[in-house]
């Protein structure tokens, strides 16, 4: 069994993150959902290119279509209940609500008749995972099309039943109405006794955002009562009959090799089973305390790997370990002649930005419950990639994927930090050996040490600007922190932009916005520095170099609400920053106050955000708020401390995250672009806060900070 420590970085923070295509075939899944849902109308979303390849006879036959081509399906039962099946999972984005809204809108049914089945590999079609702000623009659109297809089919069915024209009928509140004939029939009644299966009509007419009645509105969150009464069962709350509690022996540091382990004492403890398999040692017991004691009773000797880098030398280490020559650039991102551009302008500015590793710290640590019944493995676990974890389990236990079911109950957050299935694998391994259901809940320390981090990195920026504000040269080299958000949206005549992966000493992976937090930080710091060099207002400098209306609009909206042009007193500074990522535009203004002891206080934040047509205004604002506040931690004080393969701040008393007292006054302005497709909100909204604060500090003091976090001790050096 593989120790996560020994895996290569499974999730590059850029495009490589996407897992391989599924090899399952649609004919199998067709049986799956027909068996599941019985009679009624089923609408399946299949990607358009599959139609063009396979033709419309796809469904009656058994042509093999990759499961990855099927995004979602909707079933309307004979009782009128609408069930939506999607592989997306709920980790706090409130998509259970927003996706329900979109379906209810298109299908013209009351929201209460919609049930979402999410993240259960036995019940839902294949999905790559819940990441990359893809739920709203992709899954949301698929479900809207599926619902609209169902609505149109129901109208057709009613027209046939009443022997009339479909154009004279309309759908409303789960019924088809024939107003002139004063007839109506419920969806359930229409589909009664039939088993209908139809593909989504890709060109189906969707209801435009400006005409939305259910979507676009703030409505109560689905299942909210179960959360505020403590009744919702997270994976860590689950208990199966006969279930044992598992614990896994961890190495003292990264890269350690187990030399020997004496498990005699632990094995003799009543009710304890010890599982030893290579470097993996786990225990199970009838209660958590006994499994903890059993783990402590194991006498293990490890050989530790010496000479690993620490925070003190990490940036040099990442630079040195980036493969290829320092000057090797990815030519795809180059244009013009950078060197020539440097000579064309009066002002040059070169700076290196250092980004520390940070931790996701989902409040619910990794957890899993695993059960084997007749050779089939079922695992409940909190992951953002249920099908990815299914694949991991199938590979490790050498099973067909149909023999592995992964179920993801609504989970205690992820932020990109729960793409993997460590706890699921461990619980399954222990359950197999003990022949009982096993639960594993990682401790906070395990979550800090044995999950993965947002990458650290070094970003070198070298630019030249003319006195009139035109940027003639822009060189941007990102070492290790990732390629997302690498490209500048500002007008630049000559550029060289590159992401150079390095040999990270810490296991790294996805995070909100991936590398965009780091890249936008470096870019937006540099933009303000260039503006200051030529004594131009940083907002005006940005605006004159932008062409994207939506980017311009968020900057202007934020600045106006903030009072950008307002006068300032000594110690007070204003900063602005903006960015674009995954369909979302953000403009952020920050005010700081710095006292004579050089203590920095973030006084207020004003952020404008545009991610197209808004589905749920309150929940969208909540996502933006959460991003600003989580972003505040990474901006100011969050930093993983490490040395010699050990994490030194692996508890919440040592690793500081934002608390109530850290929160400045925050104003959020949402721009509802009903003419634009809805995009995700959980990522783009985090990228503006850090550079806005940094730029406010330079405005107040002239001190141009160049690293994240900026103020681990709250004081300017």
């Amino acid at each position: 069994m593989e120790n996560p420590d020994h895996l290569s970085h499974p999730f590059e923070p850029t495009k490589n993150e996407l897992p391989p295509e599924s090899t399952l075939h649609f004919s199998l899944d067709r049986r799956k959902f027909l068996k599941l849902t019985g009679g009624g109308l089923m609408v399946v979303f299949v990607l358009q290119d599959i139609f063009s390849v396979e033709g419309k006879n796809l469904f009656p036959g058994s042509s093999p279509v990759p499961v990855s081509g099927v995004g979602a399906w909707i079933h309307i039962g004979e009782d009128g209940i609408v069930t939506v099946y999607t592989g997306k999972v709920e980790v706090g984005q409130n998509i259970r609500t927003s996706l329900s809204q979109m379906v209810a809108e298109e299908l013209m049914v009351p929201l209460s008749s919609v049930t979402m089945i999410m993240g259960d590999t036995d019940l839902v079609p294949y999905d790559r995972g819940t990441f990359g702000s893809l739920t709203t623009p992709q899954m949301g659109l698929q479900l809207r099309k599926a619902a609209a297809t169902a609505r149109e089919a129901l109208v057709e069915m009613a027209a046939k039943l009443w022997n009339t024209q479909a154009s004279g009928l309309k759908a409303e509140q789960g019924m088809i109405l024939h107003t002139t004939a004063n007839k109506k029939i419920g969806y359930g009644e229409l589909t009664k006794g039939q088993q209908l299966l139809m593909p989504v009509a890709d060109k189906v007419r969707l209801i435009e955002a400006k005409d939305w009645k259910v979507a676009g509105k703030t409505i109560p969150r689905v299942n909210e009562r179960t959360f505020i009464t403590g009744k919702h069962q997270y994976v860590s709350d689950m208990k199966l009959p006969g279930m044992l509690y598992g614990k896994v022996l961890r190495a003292p540091s990264y890269g350690s090799t187990l030399l020997q382990a004496d498990v005699t004492k632990a094995s003799k403890m009543p009710g304890v089973i010890v599982v030893k398999d290579g470097n993996f040692i786990g225990v199970v017991a009838p209660d958590a305390r006994t499994s903890g004691k059993a783990l402590q009773a194991i006498d293990a000797k490890w050989e530790e790997s010496k000479g690993q880098p620490s925070n003190d030398n990490i940036f040099n280490y990442l630079l040195k370990n980036a493969p290829g020559a320092r000057e090797e650039r990815n030519s795809d991102n180059s244009k013009g002649d950078f060197e020539k551009g440097l000579t064309e302008a009066e002002f040059k500015h070169s700076k290196t930005y250092n980004i520390h590793y940070i931790a996701h710290v989902p409040l619910e640590p990794r957890a899993a419950v695993a059960q084997w019944v007749d050779g089939k493995l079922t695992v409940w676990t909190g992951t953002q990639r249920p099908f990815g974890v299914q694949q991991e389990l199938a590979d490790i236990f050498k099973l067909n994927k149909e023999k592995v079911r992964v179920i993801v109950p609504d989970t205690g957050s992820g932020y990109g930090g729960k793409h993997t299935g460590e706890a699921a694998i461990e619980a399954a391994r222990l359950a197999k050996e003990s022949k009982k259901p096993v639960k594993i809940v990682w401790s906070r320390e395990e979550e800090f040490v044995w999950a993965y981090f947002r990458p650290g990195g070094v970003i070198e920026v070298n630019a030249a600007v003319k006195k009139d504000g035109s940027i003639t040269a822009w060189k941007f080299s990102n070492y290790n922190s990732g390629g997302s958000g690498l490209e500048t949206q500002y007008k630049v005549s000559n550029q060289q932009i590159a992401h150079l992966p390095s040999n990270t000493p810490l296991r790294q992976g996805s995070y909100r916005g991936l590398a965009t937090t780091a890249n936008v930080f470096a870019r937006e710091c540099h933009m303000t520095d260039l503006a200051r060099l030529i004594k131009m207002d940083p907002l005006a400098f940005r605006l004159m170099n932008l062409e994207d209306d939506r980017f311009i609009a968020v900057l202007q909206t934020a600045a106006r609400a903030f009072g950008w042009q307002g006068s300032k007193i000594s110690g007070q500074g204003f900063g602005i920053a903006g960015g674009f990522e995954k369909g979302g535009y953000v403009g952020c203004c920050a005010e700081v106050m710095i006292n004579s002891d050089k203590e920095v206080k973030v006084v207020r934040i004003t952020q404008a955000f545009d991610c197209g047509a808004i589905i749920h205004p309150n929940h969208l604002e909540n996502q933006v708020m959460g991003s600003i506040i989580q972003g505040l931690g990474g901006a100011l004080f969050e930093r993983v401390e490490f040395a010699n393969g050990k994490i030194l701040n692996s508890g919440l008393s040592a690793y500081r995250v934002p608390r109530f007292s850290d929160i400045p006054k925050i104003e959020i302005i949402l721009i509802d672009r009903k003419d634009m497709p809805s995009a995700g909100a959980g990522e783009a909204s985090i990228i503006g806060i850090a550079p806005a604060i940094r730029n406010a500090i330079v405005d107040a003091t002239g001190i141009a900070l160049n690293g994240l976090p900026m103020l681990p001790n709250g004081v300017l050096a």
Partner: protein, 149 residues
């Protein structure tokens, strides 16, 4: 040993020094209180002992003997939510909600001792509870709303 949880007597046979949170969750099936940090600094495990907030993950179970323990499960009475729960429902401010039980218990204790807290008092009283999703401003609003009811 005998514990009184939400007004109900429970006889449990556990090590006296085991943490109250584990007993609540694993022995009594009261899983509303959550594990978040194991060192009493995140507030997810907050329960009330004789009306005062207590971090159950670092509270030895025997210290709760003879006292009234209230957990999130004890707030709802006859299907009616506690006023603080009603306010949190109305504001709808949580995201993943894993912190919700602890937040609500801390807010209940605050409003019992100070029925009309200032924003500053709310921040001070709630500062031991972490919401990693960063929903704090909505939680302040919910507590303000509850204080008016």
């Amino acid at each position: 040993m005998v514990l009184t949880i939400n007004g109900v007597r429970h006889e449990v046979s556990v090590d006296p020094d085991i943490d109250l949170l584990t007993v609540l969750r694993d022995n009594l099936g009261l899983t509303g209180s959550k594990y978040g940090c194991g060192e009493g600094v995140c507030g997810a495990c907050t329960v009330l002992i004789n009306g005062n907030t207590s971090r159950s993950c670092i509270t030895p179970v025997n210290s709760a003997v003879g006292k009234e323990v209230t957990t999130i499960e004890g707030l709802e009475k006859n299907g009616k939510l506690h006023a603080v729960q009603e306010a949190f429902m109305a504001i709808d401010g949580f995201q993943c909600s894993y912190c919700a039980s602890g937040m609500i218990m801390s807010a209940v204790a605050l409003l019992r001792s100070n029925p009309s807290p200032s924003e500053e008092a709310i921040v001070k009283a709630m500062n031991g509870n972490i919401c990693r999703c960063g929903t704090y401003p909505y939680l302040v609003k919910a507590i303000q709303l509850a204080s008016k009811s």
